[in-house]
Homo-oligomer: 207 residues x 2
């Protein structure tokens, strides 16, 4: 059925972000598990996502890729879940969704690759440098419960996941503001359900 | 007045993307020109954007930064301009806005920095590699007039600007699909008005 949500993922990927969002939305969905290097790069799946990356969704005959796009798409497609602010109050919502998907992602990828931006290139480099980017990210979560307005939204799922993963893997330093924010927003039934499902799908040792 | 749109920019920056979007929306706005290294890094402006980067908007007492976020915010805040698809048809809209702000931006920044992703790091690097990213971007514009649905939207302003700038500065190769798409979407009064305004603000030779 075209209305079924099909979810393409791997339990060891950012598909975890999309699954958390799906569990927040609460609609039924079908999961397709893809493996790195094999089914993720096979023609069938490249027709879904030419990047050969997960996650991706198919819904109503359309494809959505990119973790942040999946969060924003689902929030708007299922407004009853209350996961996006009203249209005229989306300043922080879009600001920090795009900040986490853009500068934070670039900065963290380059940290992992061992790339430092030379001072004379900071002006033309979108994220400037890692330290400034992380300092700016602190202002997204400091002194407020949620990223966008006074309630939990899809921006908390995505930006929160970037922060939570960063803390877990050491790519984002353990600032007290990040630790407190992550503890607050990950204390949710949908997050726990999503984690349990993906943890159960993880390959077992020796298999 | 809180309802005034204040626009922080520099004519030699991605502020040009935001100005194009502002001209598409057609509401009046006040422009503040900031200079690299001086007013852009001054405390007054760092209170607006702690990254010390342009563009930024202030509207109804709120700040929006990031070019893509400014496009998405304005489209939703001024629905009469018709620059965003209906809420249940935003698959391509969000997919390609976030793809251009994330993987494309990361890949192009790293090309400029001379960084190549080693094959064994492509799996954990969001954008994989430059070539795959550019091939995927072709599918955003190939065989259709606009990025999202059958009419021009904020996604064309942002994704189109990434493509147009990439073609101009050589950071994105001149694929025929990109050249045709850019020619089509830049042939608009709002784009010409925005370019003329920013061109007139460019520093003159020798001053």
């Amino acid at each position: 059925m075209a209305d079924t949500i099909e979810f393409f993922t791997n339990p060891m990927s950012r598909g975890r972000i999309a699954r958390w969002m799906l569990e927040e939305v609460g609609e039924p969905y079908e999961t397709h598990i893809l493996d790195y290097g094999t089914s993720m790069k096979a023609p069938d799946y490249l027709a879904v996502n030419p990047m050969g990356k997960v996650p991706a969704l198919r819904h109503r005959g359309h494809i959505v890729t990119e973790g942040a796009a999946i969060c924003a798409y689902l929030a708007d497609a299922f407004p009853n879940a209350g996961l996006a602010p009203p249209l005229d109050e989306r300043h922080d919502y879009y600001r920090w969704l795009f900040f986490a998907a853009g500068p934070v992602e670039s900065a963290v990828v380059n940290k992992a690759l061992g790339v430092e931006v030379p001072a004379e290139r900071e002006r033309t480099t979108g994220y400037g440098n890692l330290n400034t980017t992380i300092n700016a990210l602190v202002t997204a979560v400091n002194g407020k419960d949620y990223i966008a307005g006074n309630r939990f939204s899809a921006a908390d799922v995505f930006v929160g996941s970037q922060i939570g993963w960063g803390l877990q893997f050491g790519s984002i330093e353990k600032r007290p503001e990040f630790v407190a924010y992550w503890a607050r927003i990950s204390d949710r039934d949908a997050y726990r359900r999503a984690s349990e499902i993906d943890n159960a799908l993880m390959p077992k040792d020796g298999t």
